[in-house]
Assembly symmetry: C2
Homo-oligomer: 188 residues x 2
């Protein structure tokens, strides 16, 4: 075992995202990431299975956050509002990540393989939201439709957040997108 490195995980994550952005995901090696972070490859592999996992490492935590927010929505909240509470919680956490989530999104957009993995992640989030809505007593297909709608709202808001130069608030963009989805599905 190597000695304990303060915040090794965070340093590796930041170094990896920077290098993927500068040299491309495919071109970057684990050796380069470790070097940039001032750590060893061995330390890298104690934290991440491979260089792809760096981009999807926060996924389990994010899922827990989403499911908890759906579970904790007020009892009387409509299914769509409970589902949106879940993706809003995700949005608030992403927002706290500052520039890194934006950088991450731009890297994912450069690779078909990474985009596939991102789609799978979002589909899993939708399934978890639907399951949690069912636990709250929402019947199918309303649970699945509310969950899918919330994920669609999240994707559109997140894309705007990534693209726009001005510093918009992601949870606010999510609520705005929900309003737009409501207008759209009402046939306006």
């Amino acid at each position: 075992m190597g000695r304990w490195e303060p915040n090794a995980r965070g340093r590796l994550l930041k170094a990896a995202l920077e290098l993927y952005g500068e040299s491309g995901f495919e071109q970057t090696t684990v050796a380069e990431i470790a070097k940039r972070a001032g750590l060893t490859e061995r330390t890298f592999f104690r934290h991440f299975a491979d260089k792809r996992e760096v981009l999807f490492a926060g996924m389990a935590t994010m899922e827990e956050l989403i499911v908890a927010a759906v579970a904790n929505a007020p009892d009387r909240a409509a299914p769509i509002d409970a589902a949106i509470a879940g993706v809003e919680a995700a949005g608030a956490a992403i927002q706290e990540g500052g520039e890194l989530p934006r950088l991450r999104a731009k890297i994912v957009a450069t690779s078909a393989e990474l985009q596939e993995r991102e789609l799978v992640k979002l589909a899993l989030f939708a399934a978890s939201i639907a399951r949690e809505l069912e636990r709250r007593g929402v019947a199918e297909p309303a649970a699945s439709l509310a969950a899918e709608a919330a994920i669609a709202v999240f994707r559109v808001a997140f894309d705007r957040w990534v693209d726009e130069a001005n510093e918009q608030d992601l949870p606010r963009l999510i609520r705005e997108s929900l309003g737009q989805l409501r207008a759209v599905t009402a046939g306006q």
Copy 2:
């Protein structure tokens, strides 16, 4: 070149789906598919790149069908109704496939790799619908939200169609799901 075989493609498709259902997708070989269809492996590879492609072969045609239906929706149709016209056209085509699309869906559900491919396919359909809506003059993010909502409606309706023993009409299930999405997003 082998001699021309009448409806070789259709026979291979049917044989492959039957075998995937009986023995599993992973376990089935191209040799077995060709044998069941009464054709050679060489003929199989004239029609499909590999055994996975059999399951996604109709994709380009399906996409054209969807985009054409969106383009041909009445000028005054709301974005969501134009988007739904696209997935309804897909639903009608799937319905005509009889038992094969149901069998196909059950096979896709057995494999994480095939499910990923299916997610990618649906994401591409959503992007094509959004692009076509933009061509009709729908601004973003309404175009993307209507497209994503239509795909969500399609997924839920298709899952019901696959699961339910009774012979439901898929385009009708799609319209029903749209009504349910409207109720859900209205906060009911």
